[in-house]
Structure formats: C-alpha cells, structure tokens
C-alpha cells in the first residue's frame, strides 16, 4: 500500500480511539469526574483529530474540530464551567465530530445544517463574546491549508543593485536554545552570493572569557534576487535572541563607500579559531557544545553555499518504535486458525490409529502423542486468542444510540456499561452490534416508563439502562437491563392470543409469558414504533443470537425492570461437544446446552399419543425428543430404556430431553460450516471431522426442540405437570 494511504488508515483508526476517549471523558465529567487530566485528555483527543485532519487537508473536519477544541480549551482553562447543559452540548458535538470523521473516511455526506447549528452552540459557550470573534478568525487560518509562503506585506526590494546587507549579533540566549550562528550563516548562503565579515572586537581577554556568553557578530552581504522576507525567515527562530538589521544594498551604498563590503583579513579569523580552541582547554567547560561561537565561524566564511546536504544513507532505526501490538491481515489469522483446526483433527486421527495399533498407554509413542495433544490444544487456544477482542468496540457505539433514542422519546436515560474489556471472537463482536442496538432501543422505548410515570412510581426521572459483559463458564454473557416497568404480561398475553400464538385458555407461567415476545409473529409492523421497530422483532434478535451459537433469555419483574441475558460462545471455530450415536450415525451435541444426562427408566416415560412422549425428571415432566426420528434416521421410536437421555435447556429456559442410542464421549471439535460446504439442513448446526476421519453432524438443539415440540406440546407439558 502507498505509505501515505496506510497512514491515512492509521489516522482513521486513531480517530475512532480518540472519539471513544472523547466520549468516555465527557461522560465521566457528566458523572461528576473533576480530574483535570480528564478534560486534558478530552482536549487532546479533539486536538489530535484536528492535527491529523489538517495533514490530510480534511477541511470540514478541521473546521469543526477547531471550534470544538476552542470550547474545550475554555473549559480546560477554567473559564467555562462543565455544567450538565454544557456537557450535553459537548456530547452532541462529539457525535457531529464522529459524523465528520466517518464522512471523511468513506466519503459520505454530513448534515451541514446540524454541523453549523452545533458550531454556533459551541461558539455560544464561549464566556466572553470578544474571543468568539478572534476564534472565528483562527478558524479561517485553519481552513487555509495551502502554503502561502511569501504573503507577508513587506515592501519589495527597491530597484538598483539587488542585494542585502545583514548585521547579526547573537545574544547568549540564542546559543542557550541550541541555535547555531554558523547554520544561520549557511542558510543565508542558500539565498545568493554571500560575503561574510566577522566582528570579533567584543572578544575579551582570554582570562575574562565566559564560555557561555556571546561575543561575536557578523555582517553578511547577500547579492542576488532574494527578498527581505526570505532573509528574515532565516532568522525566524532566533528573533528576539539576537540583534538583526537587514538593509538593501543600494541604501547602504548611498550611506558611504567606506562601510560597503569590507573583507576581514582571513588570518585574524583563523587566529580567533585557534584562540578559542585554547580557551576551551583552559576553561574546561562541561561540554564542547557550550562554546558555540568557536570553530564554525571560519567555515561559514569560507563556504558560501553548499548546504543541501541532508544526511546520507537510509537511516534504518536500530530500535523500532516501542509498541506492543502489530497489525495482521485478518485473512492470515483465519488461515492459521483453519490450519490449526486441521492439525487438531490430524492429531486426533493419529492418536486413534496409534491406539488401534495396540500401543500400550505407557509406551513412548502413546506418551509422546499425549504431549502432542496437549501442545496442539495450547496452540489452538493461543491462535483463538488472536481473534479475541474486547467487546468495548461494540459497547462504545451504544452511548450515542442512547442519547439519540432518549432525545426522540423524551425520556432521560443514563447508560451504564460494565465489563467492556471482556474478550470474545471478532466475528461474534461484529454480529453483536445489530441485536444489541435493537435491544437497547427496546429497553428505552418499551422498557423505561415516561418521566411522569416514573415520578408517580417514586423512581428518579432518569432511567438507567445497564449493559454488561462477563465471562461465565467458557462463554460470554451479555446483559441488557433496564429499570423500567417490566414486561406488561397481561398485554403480552392478550397480543399473543390475538395473534393466535397461544390458545386463549393456555395457562402460562410468568416466565413463559415473558418469552412470548421472542416468538415469530409477535411483533408486527403495525405496532412497531419508529424507534425500536425498524421492522425487526425480538424473534429476529433471537435468531441472530442463535446463529452465533448463543442463547437469549429474559427475566422481568413488574415495576422493577427487565433483563435480557445473552450467552454466547467465545469462538465460532471450536466447540466442546458430547459425541453420541444415533442409529449407527455419530452426532455431536454442544455441551453448553446439556444440563445433565440420564438413563430413562420405563416408569418415567409417558406417551401422549402418537410419537409424543414426556419423561419425568425428578418432579417435572419434559418432552422426550427422539433424535433419530427428528432427523429421519428411523421411522419408529426408540425404546427409551435402551437409550440415553440428554437433558437440555433451550432458549427461554425451556427444557427438553434428547433421546440418543449411546454416548461415545466428550471432545472438542473443530466446526466446519455445512452451509459453506453443502447447504443448510434443519436440525443440523454444522459438521466436524472426527478422529477416525468420518464426518459427524453437530446438532442444532434449539431447532430440533422447536420442530419436535410443535404448538401443542407446551400445553401438554403443563397439563401433565398439573396432574403429575
């Protein structure tokens, strides 16, 4: 990639980080953080965005960042108090800044009117109106990127003998700032033909010489067509640290011939060099660098113009920039993950062959294989960790969403996030954004009550939406909780009955009613509001979570709020599975779904007519699903006492028992997509390759349960529970 294009990408990446920093800082201040470092960090974030944007000539971005930065600077210097009102404006400005960054990145359009509006609001924050005027001038400066190098209004050199006479006498300050008279003379030499005259008359007797003082002065004649501006520019850095006079040669000549370009005797110049060298030795200064006027002077006299000598050789840095991260193409990581998957499969196959060959467990071969297995597992874990990223990246998008929805609904909302550092596979993170967005919209729109209702219920006017992430037993659990009114169960039930999702006489537990909102067809376009709807119901949310191998549940308490809990696998590449046999086939059930396994006894299994059966587990009945029949491996039911039941928990906490022929064991399996290699099959989530080289299907437990249960089994289960 073109290096500049690569830096541009870096810039946009950094912008995202700085936007997050900015938002977090402002939110912290809103929550009462008064640490000066917080406002400093907020200021730096905007300042950095402006700086980078300037380098890439992103003018609109620079302009807005400048206005924003000015307001933040006022706050940083204590002239603007960080009241809630001000912070709200700054947060909205942060959103506009984010829009500008994205617009600059992907070329999308920004809302100009909204930008102008925010810019005006930011300017209005400025406590004194006078500064506002100055600032807008500064803004124009910033908008003007192109070089306008010679625009300073200095009268052009008068006609006549073209050239300048420059008198230059450094003060000690000049050297103290590490400026170097010789280099300035060299720069002058670039502007034309120069004659340099040294005035060493100020040099004291050797014994009185202060190595850090400045004694020398120079007069330089520059001939050619250089103008005064470029001559003065040479001395830009030392302005104030030297005496400087620049006068046109013609004027000087008019003053009198005597003073024009006398050339000092070179012998004396050399003497001074030698003299100073001796002084150095006598005075024993701490460092030779502190005697700046020493050697370079004669050199400058001798060579008029040979300056364009930047150091040669490609400066290859010995020590690379101290950084703990590298950027790697995702494709490479995925290729590595694929290969490690193959390695795991191969290792399993090798183990199986070795066992079949009759090696003892204590044999060297078997022990070596054990070590290989362990190493393989470690490699696999490490490689998976490369793809893991903190959920922060998706959590960060939510504060803005909350602000927008809060503004649309007129409900004051505070978003609390926890566990942003929790890591999970990159793909999981990417696919989390949509469901999370929808759930948070829902939480504010449907979950939280209006401020009036909250007041009536004795709650603070500001609602709280809590977004948390945590690792729990090898999965990531993400919760979206609100402190609103909880699910209106009567209303949910009546909608479900009206839509024919449940029978009018169904006796449903609270939990079951709550879970009705996940049913396809529960939410329809007609009742979808602008905010939470966008035509998507909770069934779509559930499906997208399921597609990630996750589960979503809801718990709700009237008057206290609702909590949606999503449990997702940490990776989509491997799965801990229970390997089972069904009618001669080998299948894999995800272990995370299995609550327990049991051997059914004849008395526990009851037929409900047809093929529907339930099994009594302790004091409840759950549907018994014959996996062989569900997948079409056999026509008639398996005698339950001849098989093994896997008690599983589907989404919504609903339980069922899967009847299989036998359990072969537990194994971590590499997931191979069935859709990518074959096509989607209902009841099958994916496939894997086992140690013996055979393909085994991985069960999609939720689908099997849903298909087998049908609409009636729910009520059947309840009826039995009531009689049993």
């Amino acid at each position: 990639m073109d290096p500049l294009a690569a830096i541009r990408e870096t810039f946009f990446q950094e912008c995202e980080e700085q936007l997050a920093e900015l938002e977090n800082g402002l939110l912290a201040m809103e929550a009462g953080d008064t640490d000066p470092e917080t406002i400093n960090a907020v200021f730096r974030a905007v300042h950095s965005i402006k700086g980078g944007a300037g380098a890439f000539s992103l003018e609109a971005l620079v302009r807005f960042a400048h206005v924003f930065e000015t307001a933040l600077d006022e706050m940083r210097s204590g002239r603007l108090a960080p009241t809630n009102e001000v912070l709200k404006t700054l947060l909205r400005a942060a959103d506009v800044l984010a829009d500008h960054v994205r617009a600059a990145h992907d070329g999308s359009a920004v809302d100009e009117a909204h930008t102008a509006e925010l810019a005006e609001e930011l300017k209005a924050l400025d406590p004194n109106g006078a500064t506002a005027g100055e600032e807008s001038e500064g803004e124009e400066d910033w908008g003007d990127f192109e070089f306008k190098p010679m625009s300073v209004d200095v009268p052009a050199a008068p006609a006549g003998p073209s050239g300048w006479r420059v008198s230059f006498k450094p003060r000690a300050d000049l050297y103290a700032k590490a400026n170097e008279a010789a280099l300035l003379l060299r720069e002058l030499g670039r502007l034309g033909q120069t004659t340099v005259e040294l005035d060493a008359s100020g040099l004291p007797a050797l014994t009185e010489l202060d190595p850090e003082a400045a004694y020398l002065a120079w007069t330089v004649t520059v001939t050619g067509d250089a103008d005064e501006t470029s001559i003065r520019e040479v001395f830009e850095f030392v302005d104030g640290d030297c005496e400087l006079e620049v006068s046109p040669l013609a004027a000087v000549a008019a003053e009198g011939e005597a003073s024009a370009t006398p050339v000092e005797d070179p012998g004396e110049t050399l003497d001074i060099g030698a003299l100073l060298a001796r002084v150095q030795a006598v005075a024993e200064p701490p460092s030779p660098q502190q005697v700046p006027p020493a050697a370079p002077a004669p050199a400058a006299v001798a060579t008029p113009a040979d300056p364009s000598s930047p150091p040669d050789g490609q400066g290859q840095p010995r020590k690379p920039e101290a950084g703990a991260t590298i950027r790697v193409d995702l494709e490479r990581v995925d290729r590595l993950i694929d290969l490690v998957g193959e390695l795991v499969i191969n290792q399993a196959m090798l183990s199986q062959r070795v066992m079949e060959a009759g090696f003892a467990r204590a044999s060297g071969v078997a022990m070596g294989l054990d070590e290989l297995e362990q190493l393989t597992r470690e490699i696999q874990d490490s490689v998976m960790a490369i793809r893991a990223q903190p959920v922060k990246s998706v959590f960060q998008r939510m504060p803005r969403l909350v602000r927008e929805v809060a503004a649309m609904t007129g409900k004051p909302v505070r978003l609390v996030t926890e566990g942003e550092g929790t890591e999970v596979d990159k793909t999981v993170i990417e696919r989390l954004a949509d469901p999370l967005t929808h759930m948070i919209r829902n939480a504010i729109d449907h979950g939280l009550e209006s401020p009036e209702k909250r007041a009536a219920a004795g709650k603070p006017a500001e609602g709280v939406v809590r977004l948390t992430a945590a690792h729990r037993s090898g999965r990531i659990v993400i919760e979206v909780a609100d402190d609103g009114g909880g699910i209106n169960r009567e209303r949910v039930k009546s909608i479900a009955i009206e839509k024919g999702l449940v029978a009018p006489d169904a006796a449903l537990s609270d939990e079951e009613i709550d879970n009705l909102i996940f049913m396809p067809g529960f939410s329809t376009a007609s009742e979808v509001s602008d905010i939470s709807g966008r035509g998507v119901g909770m069934d779509v949310v559930r499906r997208s979570i399921q597609a990630l191998g996750g589960r979503i549940t809801i718990s709700s308490r009237p008057g206290k709020g609702s909590t949606f809990t999503m449990s997702l696998p940490l990776t989509l590449a491997v799965l801990d599975g229970m390997v089972v046999s069904v009618q001669g086939q080998t299948l894999v059930a995800p272990i995370t779904a299995i609550v327990e396994t049991l051997l059914p006894k004849a008395g526990d299994v009851h037929s409900l007519g047809g093929s529907a059966r339930v099994i009594a587990i302790r004091d409840t009945y759950v549907p018994l699903i014959d996996v062989g029949m569900a997948l079409g491996y056999r026509a008639g039911p398996l005698d339950a006492t001849q098989g093994v039941a896997l008690l599983i928990e589907g989404e919504g906490g609903a339980r069922a028992a899967l009847l299989v022929d036998a359990i072969q064991g537990q194994r971590q399996v590499v997931i191979k997509s069935l859709e990518a290699n074959y096509r989607q099959v209902p009841g099958v989530a994916a496939a894997t390759i086992l140690g013996d080289g055979r393909v085994a299907l991985i069960l999609d437990i939720d689908t099997i349960v849903a298909v087998s249960r049908g609409a009636d089994s729910l009520r059947a289960e309840k009826r039995l529970a009531a009689t049993g």
Binding site: P3, L4, A6, I7, T10, F11, Q13, E14, E37, N40, A41, F43, R44, H47, S48, G51, G52, G54, A55, S57, V62, G138, D141, W142, F145, F147, A176, K177, A178, N179, E180, A182, L183, L184, E187, V234, E236, F237, G240, P286, S287, Q289, Q290, P292, P307, P310, P311, D312, G313, Q314, G315, Q316, P317, R318, K319, E321, A322
Partner: protein
C-alpha cells in the same frame, strides 16, 4: 552514519507521518509517545535533533523541553516543537523553555526537513 531524529508525539498518525518524511529525507528516526518516554529514548539514542509535540499525556512538550535543557549533556541538542501558526502563546512558552525552533502544523514534510536543516549541522 546518518543523523538521528527523535520525534515525540502521542498521536500514532503524526508519528507515522514524521517517520515517513524523515526516513525519506535520509534521517534515522527514533520515536517516543510522550515527554517521559522521550527522556528515556533520549538517554538511549543520543539523537542529533528532537522534534516534539506540545499536547501530550504524562509529560507535555514544555516539561519535556525543560527537562532536556536542564541536563548539561543535552543543552546543545536542537529541539523543534510542532505547533500551530495561530498559537503564539504556546510558541513563546516553548521558546522560554528552551526550544530551538518550531514547525508549523498542519504537517508538511518539506517544512519539517527545512526546519531540521536550519538547526542541525
């Protein structure tokens, strides 16, 4: 042996820009992310010239320049600050602290190399 330039800037974008511009001009580049880090790299690398930003976390450009100038070993090392044209106050503060010169942002590689040539042999 080419000249070594130490750049001190908290922005990754600016660091990459500085590195690109300076290596293309033939300089060897060492980098630091803030003033404190800059002091560490300074001690390890003995650069010929320092280019530093002002606004940085932990130790800003002013603090960094003062620290560098207070060490006799580094008093003669030219320091250029990255600043904006409009901010005369910052430029003056940087000069008071001992900055040798400045580079006006927005960043321009030609101006950068030009400024370095003006302060370093």
């Amino acid at each position: 042996m080419s000249m070594t330039v130490l750049t001190v800037d908290d922005s990754r974008t600016m660091r990459e820009m500085l590195r690109l511009a300076l290596t293309e001009a033939g300089y060897r580049v060492v980098q630091a992310e803030d003033g404190l880090h800059g002091l560490e790299v300074l001690a390890a690398e003995a650069p010929t010239v320092i280019v530093t930003d002002i606004n940085m976390p932990r130790m800003d450009g002013f603090g960094f320049i003062e620290e560098v100038r207070s060490d006799p070993q580094y008093r003669g090392v030219p320091i250029l600050v990255l600043t904006t044209e409009s901010d005369a106050e910052k430029k003056n503060r940087a000069r008071m602290a001992g900055a040798t010169g400045w580079i006006v942002k927005p960043f321009n590689p030609v101006k950068l190399v030009d400024a370095i040539r003006r302060v370093a042999a």
